[in-house]
């Protein structure tokens, strides 16, 4: 079929245009919830400003030098029979110039860098909330020593208040990385490292372990849930009530504000209200939780939670967005699947397959779902 030039043109664009849209989309930070390019805290802004400054200089240098190279490549094409070009061996003045200019550019990068180093290394004072972060193979423990609370894989923080993180590890080296709020800080066994930031906007944001830490390094994610001070207080008050038995009525979880841009809008894990302690499935699950040995590794209390457990604290597991450190969405099916076959889902995880039947899993899910 013959094509007119115009339609050929059109067809070519029809191919290229979606590709361009795709590329443009793939290049825009808005496409990436875990991006480092849209900072949401004072700490992250320090690094971002420096990075932008460096990037501008780098882009300038890139354009000039690659431009000169391309120009030379085309301009100085020769033929074998061309006369020999003039044999220049060097030029001291030019060489001094192109030693000094990069030095000046580097100074323009170094000054804000040094300022940023000291800013980010400062120890925060005043009204700070201390959180102790413990990396485990392969999940995160968050302890609030002043509030006497413990939770796992979801870091709740108040907006507008500086959080001071004291980080450590229970086993090997990990790296704590909440990209929207701060850069990485490695966590070591028997050594404390520090990190701080003040969140600017509420929402739920992804974070991840960034240091290779064994077979499931890839599945060691966490969520940062920045909340307005009032919501955070509500959450704290609620958590304070979480002893061995969860409160009969969980707070309305829709009150959590998640509408900000870039945050993952959470899908409500379950449509029906969670089972209470009176539910027979709950009671069966409670028995199984002890009988299957779950209690050996998991605590169900947020207050005065024991230290050094192998598995994450489950006091409010029913309300979390993900299970297994960011591996699966926290739906009833996923939770049941996880309880029955953790080794199939996250091979090498320290939780063994315990031979839980489908029925037992349903009961355990009912029990855990009630822990909000």
């Amino acid at each position: 079929m013959p094509l007119t030039p115009a339609s050929r043109h059109l067809r070519r664009w029809a191919c290229v245009l979606p590709l361009l849209v795709l590329v443009a989309g793939a290049c825009s930070p808005g496409h990436y919830p875990q991006t480092t390019l849209r900072p949401l805290s004072d700490f992250a802004r320090i690094g971002d400003d420096i990075q932008n400054n460096t990037l501008y200089w780098a882009t300038g240098v890139f354009v000039l030098v690659e431009g000169a190279l391309l120009y030379a490549i085309f301009r100085f094409r020769g033929r074998p029979d061309d006369p020999e070009p003039s044999q220049v061996h060097g030029n001291t003045v030019i060489e001094i110039i192109w030693t000094v200019i990069p030095a000046l550019i580097l100074a323009a990068i170094a000054v804000p860098t040094v300022r940023g180093i000291f800013q980010t290394n400062a120890i925060p004072t005043g009204d700070v909330l201390r959180v102790d972060v413990v990396g485990h193979q392969w999940w995160w423990e968050f302890r609030y020593p002043t509030l006497n609370l413990t939770t796992a894989n979801e870091l709740h923080i108040p907006v507008g208040q500086t959080v001071s993180l004291h980080l450590g590890s229970a086993d090997v080296i990990h790296s704590f990385w909440p990209p929207r709020f701060a850069g990485k800080r490695d966590v070591f066994p028997n050594r404390e490292t520090r990190l701080w930031f003040k969140a600017e906007r509420a929402g739920e944001y992804p974070g991840q372990c960034a240091e290779f830490c064994g077979i499931q390094h890839a599945r060691m994610a966490f969520r940062v849930r920045a909340q307005s001070p009032a919501e955070f207080q509500t959450w704290v008050a609620h958590m304070q009530t979480l002893g061995t038995k969860p409160a009969a009525a969980a707070p309305a979880r829709d009150s959590v504000h998640t509408a900000s841009a870039g945050a993952t809008v959470r899908s409500d894990p379950q449509a029906a209200p969670p089972a209470g302690p009176t539910d027979p499935a709950y009671a069966a699950g409670e028995k199984l939780f002890a009988a299957k040995g779950c209690v050996g590794c998991h605590s169900l209390t947020a207050v005065n939670a024991p230290k050094g457990l192998v598995g994450p604290n489950l006091a409010n597991v029913g309300a979390r967005t993900y299970i297994a450190a960011g591996t699966l969405k926290n739906t009833d099916e996923n939770l049941a699947h996880w309880i029955r076959d953790p080794q199939g889902i996250k091979k090498g995880v320290l939780m063994p397959n315990l031979g839980v039947t489908a029925d037992e899993a349903r009961s355990l899910v009912a029990f855990l779902r009630a822990h909000q």
Binding site: F76, T113, T264, G348
Partner: protein, 612 residues
């Protein structure tokens, strides 16, 4: 049988014939043959590392992919890094050191020909040892950086880390022996008149590389010894629960690791600095500046190691020092790039395949260098480190830099090494596929990294936006692989053709082009006398045009070192010791003792054997 074969060979050599046959390769001490052995072995390992990379890319092509199991992925990424660094790029550079340095400085061989053979055999056996781990289902799986305390017995039971640690230790012996050899060779074996500041720039950069090897490898040797004692003999150097310090591993590793980066790139700098002047038909711009910037880079290499460790929280003073020292490196590197520009500027550029690769090297290296400056700033680096931004950066330096440079060298010196011209059309096809495939594979990694994709993950979830670019990278990786298929085809095709290369096919400037292609066993029938930096250009200018083809001559009267199999025996003893060490809990000390006995036996016979 051995002795008679050797005798025959000696008789053969005395008659002026090149020895042939497998035995002649096993006993060879000829630097050119060893260079070819290095090249062939390293290229094979390079292809293996490439296949490993393709498997990794398939796994990462889609989110939550199950093409590879997590442990296989971890083994593959560890072996990909270890292979490319220790078994591909370093020995590919060594292939050029071996083949080219003695020719460029007008020598008949290296300072210690048998030590040279020993280096090669240890390298080969070390590489085989490392890869034998696949057969035992215990390939190393803790990353090429092997951060403690993940490598401790508690967190890495099994043989994975043992293979890695003893394999690297073996390879370190090979590198150190070669470095002593080439350091001595460059200083002592130069032809009359070749002052240091008349040495070809490739020889200069290689010489600096040897200094880095000599000073960096002992440090990793100690780091690995400490790890070995932790794993085999119950010490606690890297065990924090006993008071040990996993951070010490990081310090020692990067004190080695940062110079190692320059060990990988400096030879490529040298190659490109040879190729650009020849094809621009102009001498290298700012020769002295090129030499001194190389020395300065090497010197700074020992003072910047902790910029790999900003995220560990070293405190503001250390951060400031390491950050500023790191930025300083950009100055001599910039000088090099500008001098390369100055070299082609105003030239009469002849577009042959080596020149394509050399120019692309400069273009790609600029990108890698600039992203390097971006990591130099700790507050920004805290976001960049351990993401795909870093993966992009060092692939622009290692692939866009080293591999493009080595490819330029391969096309440039191929006629000298094998007496055959590689096909130009296929060479250019190789180039374009490689350039496009490389950029499409690695440039998007910058974007992914800055947008939050961490390194060393066997998979990533949906919904973080990583899907599109990862798929693009995976497809492009196959394009990149295809470029090497073209290269292989080019080699095979040319191999079948006649030896058609003249002594000086490119109108080059240095001594290796004054002798027949391929060179005869003794390289130079008469040791040349050097009067300047570009001796061949000067000779041609004096002659008023191209020189006549140099005749092949009889080697009668030229005394060359005897072939020897003791280097191989010694290398086997060393490998046996390493294997014995690994099996110490099964064999007791007997494996080590047996290996040690072979080693001693080899050393003594080597020492008392007439060298010729």
């Amino acid at each position: 049988m051995a002795t008679t074969a050797l005798d025959q060979q000696r008789a053969h050599a005395a008659a002026g014939h090149e020895p042939t046959g497998l035995w002649s390769w096993i006993t060879t001490v000829d630097h050119k043959r060893i260079g070819i052995l290095y090249g062939a072995t390293a290229f094979t390992f390079f292809l293996m590392g490439g296949i490993e990379a393709l498997l990794l890319r398939i796994q990462l092509g889609t989110p939550n992919n199950t093409f590879l199991s997590p442990e296989t992925y971890n083994e593959l990424f560890t072996m990909h890094g270890t292979t490319m660094i220790f078994l591909a790029i370093m020995p590919l550079s060594a292939a050029f050191f071996n083949f080219i340095i003695p020719l460029q400085i007008g020598a008949r061989d290296v300072a210690f020909p048998r030590l040279n053979a020993f280096s090669y055999w240890v390298f080969l056996l070390g590489g085989l040892f490392l890869n034998a781990s696949w057969l035992f289902g215990a390939a190393p799986d803790t990353g090429w950086f092997g951060y403690a305390n993940l490598t401790s017995k508690q967190y890495s039971p099994g043989l994975h880390v043992d293979f890695w640690m003893l394999g690297l230790q073996t390879l370190g012996v090979a590198s150190l022996a070669a470095a002593v050899n080439f350091f001595t060779t460059v200083l002592n074996m130069r032809a009359p008149g070749m002052k240091l500041m008349r040495m070809p720039i490739f020889t200069w950069m290689s010489f600096i590389t040897q200094v880095l090897l000599l000073l960096a490898f002992p440090v990793i040797t100690v780091a690995l010894i400490l790890l070995m004692f932790d794993r085999f003999f119950g010490t606690n150097f890297y065990v924090p629960t006993a008071g040990g310090d996993p951070l010490l591993w990081q310090h020692l590793f990067w004190i080695f690791g940062h110079p190692e980066v320059y060990i990988l790139i400096l030879p490529a700098f040298g190659i490109v600095s040879e190729v650009l002047p020849v094809f621009a038909r102009k001498p290298l711009f700012g020769y002295a500046a090129m030499v001194f910037s190389g020395i300065f880079i090497a010197f700074l290499a020992f003072g910047v190691w902790a910029h790999h460790m900003f995220a560990t929280g070293m405190g503001p003073i250390a951060d400031t020092y390491f950050s500023l020292a790191t930025m300083l490196i950009a100055i001599p590197t910039g000088v090099k790039i500008f001098n390369w520009l100055g070299t082609v500027w105003g030239g009469s550029i002849q577009y042959k395949t080596p020149m394509y690769f050399a120019l692309a090297f400069v273009a790609m290296f600029i990108i890698g260098g600039l992203s390097g400056v971006m990591h130099g700033s700790p507050p920004a680096d805290l976001q960049q480190t351990d993401t795909y931004f870093v993966v992009a950066h060092f692939h622009y330096v290692m692939f866009g830099g080293s591999i493009f440079g080595l490819a330029a060298g391969a096309y440039y010196w191929w006629p000298k090494m094998f007496g055959r011209m590689l096909d130009e059309r296929l060479g250019k096809l190789h180039f374009w596929l490689m350039l496009i495939g490389f950029n499409l594979t690695f440039f998007p990694m910058h974007i992914l990294g800055l947008n939050g994709m961490p390194r060393r993950v066997y998979t990533y979830p949906e919904g973080l936006g990583f899907e599109e670019l990862n798929l693009l990278e995976t497809i492009s990786a196959f394009l990149l692989a295809a470029s090497f298929a073209v290269f292989l085809y080019n080699i095979i095709k040319t191999w079948r053709g006649p030896r058609n290369a003249p002594a000086d096919p490119w109108n080059a400037a240095t001594l290796e082009w004054t002798i027949p292609s391929p060179p005869q066993e003794w390289n130079f029938a008469e040791i040349p006398v050097v009067h300047g930096r570009d001796p061949l250009w000067e000779a041609k200018r004096e002659h008023g045009g191209p020189l006549p083809e140099p005749p092949k001559v009889s080697g009668a009267g030229i005394h060359m070192p005897n072939p020897s199999y003791w280097p191989l025996v010694t290398a086997l003893g060393l490998s046996a010791m390493m294997s014995g060490l690994m099996l110490i809990h099964h064999l007791g000390p007997w494996g080590i003792i047996a290996g040690g006995a072979i080693l001693l036996f080899g050393v003594f016979n080597w020492a008392f054997e007439p060298a010729g």
